[in-house]
């Protein structure tokens, strides 16, 4: 009998060192340098879009919880990416898209919060069983609470727990030190925990 080993169909014992598409390179967009590099090769934009679109949308959607808003943010992110590439070479498209998607989505969530207070009824709409309703309510609460965090803390929390990057990857994306990530993450969790206690008390 020939058994199928699903992850490694042909050669057992040889596969992905990580199983993941790690993001380790430090993204760098240098306006100063890049603005004067007219001979840079044009990247295959279609391929870049194909590779990163889902991630950009996912990051935005996790932060915003709205398909419509996530699409808008995705559009903004890709537009900015084109502009940035025109201004200078992009050394890590992955880093650029992850960073832009996170920051733009947080920015929108904060602006949205300042203009439209989430209606209590919206939090649990279109959900069926009680556990789904609770889940939707929790998700809505977390998004709202995260939007009240300082921007850096919100970004670090989102990248760590929504996008599930590790400390070094978050540090690389945001160009901060790993220690900064740890500190910000600790503060973010403290703030969120203090708020979730209130939230549960209200329910």
């Amino acid at each position: 009998m020939l058994l199928q080993f699903p992850q490694f169909p042909v050669i057992s014992g040889y596969g992905s060192p990580t199983g993941n598409d790690y993001l380790i390179d430090v993204p760098c967009i240098s306006y100063r340098k890049g603005a004067f590099m007219p001979n840079e090769k044009s990247p295959d934009w279609g391929r870049i879009v194909d590779r990163h679109a889902e991630r950009v949308f996912r990051i935005a959607f996790r932060i915003l919880g709205s398909v419509h808003d996530a699409e808008d943010v995705s559009q903004i992110v890709f537009t900015e990416a084109v502009q940035m590439h025109a201004a200078g070479p992009v050394q890590s498209w992955t880093g650029l898209f992850v960073r832009l998607a996170t920051l733009r989505a947080i920015d929108l969530s904060r602006r949205r919060r300042s203009t439209v207070e989430l209606d209590e009824g919206d939090r649990v709409s279109n959900v069926g069983p009680p556990e789904e309703a609770v889940g939707a309510e929790l998700a809505a609460w977390l998004r709202e609470a995260a939007s009240k965090l300082p921007e850096q803390q919100a970004a670090i929390f989102s990248l760590t727990y929504f996008e599930q990057l590790d400390r070094d990857e978050v540090a690389a994306v945001l160009s901060v030190s790993p220690e900064t990530v740890s500190t910000a993450l600790y503060k973010a969790r403290q703030r969120l925990m203090s708020q979730i206690t209130v939230f549960h008390g209200e329910r």
Binding site: M1, P6, Q7, S16, T18, G19, Y31, A35, G46, D50
Partner: protein
């Protein structure tokens, strides 16, 4: 960068209430149609902006990234996009930059070898379709296992193992067709729409890791002759993984990439890849899922989705010990005895659902181990039995330094360093 669905795997442990909230967010499905719309709109952006003036994007200036990116033109960090540089300022900067370019250019001229490395990395990034030969060196064998790997532009992959077994995978790294030339058998892998893909990048992780590496190597190894070619060596490190890259000193072509096996307990000692060819036309028929004429078809069950991590280790060991009178396997990273055990007593050579599920659990163990340093896990089950006095058969360290152990009764618990054998 896609990870397990466990928000605790890579970051400080969350308080249960907060973890539940994170789970709620992560469990929300993504709208595939919305993603398609995003792709379509994004694809159209380039054309729209190809002749547009360069503008400074409205990055929040309070952010550290923003502040560094905008330090040149702080006055432009307004809410509305504005032209990047005025013409006079640009001319002034150009003259300054021209001087910098001369200095920097001279520096790079003097350090020509690192740029050869950067050139190869760039070539890898630009690769759409490619082929290479991979050789696996194993303990006790001087002759390596040779596989020709071919990857089409759309991500489909064809592996020709020792010229005898051909595997074709779809763009999600799911095996779809395996052809065994000697016995003229074709294994058709049924695909469930819910079936997970293979580990992202799978066998090609080395390539993704090198593509993600910066343009400068971490180490230079100097020159040597390799198969009659003068080559220069570089070491590129990505986390705990190190790749040795050999580049032709004259043509600057990639000649060889090698790395050691990243899993403790594996008999594979080294992987060496050579004969690289990039962006050459590959015949569509090489990647067809259709069974060639003359082959007897054997259909394999879809591979179920499994939890991965310690749960899959437990379930794989449970499946094994159930069939081995309680004895644990010698290894969880070498699968020879697993194949023998699970082949015994099978009907018509066809694995049943239970066996397929155990294999799925087993298959998910390697990626779990490979995410860790070799010092951060150990399998201790060889020679042990479920009937022995309670003892640890496997332990591992999480990123937050906490330790988990699987016992021979297949229970799992947090442990301290002092509890480890």
């Amino acid at each position: 960068m896609s990870r397990t669905n466990n928000p605790q795997d890579h970051a400080p442990e969350l308080e249960p209430q907060l973890e539940a909230a994170v789970w709620s967010v992560l469990s929300e499905p993504l709208d595939a149609e919305a993603i398609a719309r995003v792709k379509a709109r994004a694809a159209a952006i380039r054309a729209e902006h190809s002749s547009a003036p360069v503008i400074l994007p409205p990055v929040p200036s309070s952010h550290p990234i923003a502040s560094s990116a905008h330090e040149l033109e702080q006055t432009h960090s307004t809410q509305l996009p504005v032209p990047f540089l005025s013409r006079s300022l640009m001319m002034k900067c150009l003259s300054t930059v021209a001087g910098i370019v001369i200095v920097v250019g001279a520096t790079f001229m003097l350090q020509s070898t690192p740029s050869a490395f950067g050139q190869v990395i760039e070539q890898l990034r630009a690769a759409r379709s490619y082929t290479y030969v991979s050789r696996l060196y194993t303990e006790g064998n001087t002759k390596p296992i040779e596989t020709k790997v071919m990857v089409a532009e759309d991500g489909r992959q064809r592996n020709e193992l020792s010229g005898e077994t051909v595997s074709i995978m779809d763009s999600s790294s799911r095996a779809r067709l395996t052809l065994i030339k000697g016995s003229k058998r074709a294994l058709v892998h049924e695909v469930d729409p819910q079936q997970p893909g293979g580990p992202k990048n799978g066998q090609l992780a080395w390539l993704e890791n090198l593509k993600a590496h910066g343009d400068k190597p971490d180490e230079q190894l100097g020159k040597k002759m390799l198969d009659g070619r003068s080559v220069e060596g570089f070491v590129a490190k990505q986390g705990q993984y190190a790749y040795t890259v050999w580049i032709d000193t004259k043509t600057r072509e990639l000649v060889q990439v090698e790395h050691e096996m990243f899993v403790k307990g594996s008999s594979i000692t080294k992987v060496v890849m050579t004969d690289f060819r990039f962006n050459e036309s590959l015949d569509e028929s090489l990647f067809s899922f259709d069974v060639p004429e003359g082959y007897a078809i054997q259909k394999l069950l879809p591979i179920p989705k499994v939890a991965g991590g310690e749960k899959s280790i437990v379930e794989a060991l449970r499946g094994y010990t159930k069939r081995s009178d309680g004895k644990f396997p010698k290894s969880i990273s070498e699968w020879g005895e697993w194949a023998v055990l699970f082949s015994t007593g099978s009907k018509d050579g066809q694995p049943n659902e239970e066996t397929t599920e155990i294999m799925a659990h087993l298959g998910s163990i390697l990626p779990f181990l490979m995410e860790r340093s070799k010092d951060d896990y150990q399998y201790l089950g060889a020679g042990k039995s479920v009937d022995d006095k309670r003892c640890i058969v496997f332990w591992y360290r999480n990123k937050d330094a906490t330790l988990r152990a699987i016992y021979n009764d297949l229970s799992v618990a947090d442990v301290q360093e002092k509890d480890l054998p």
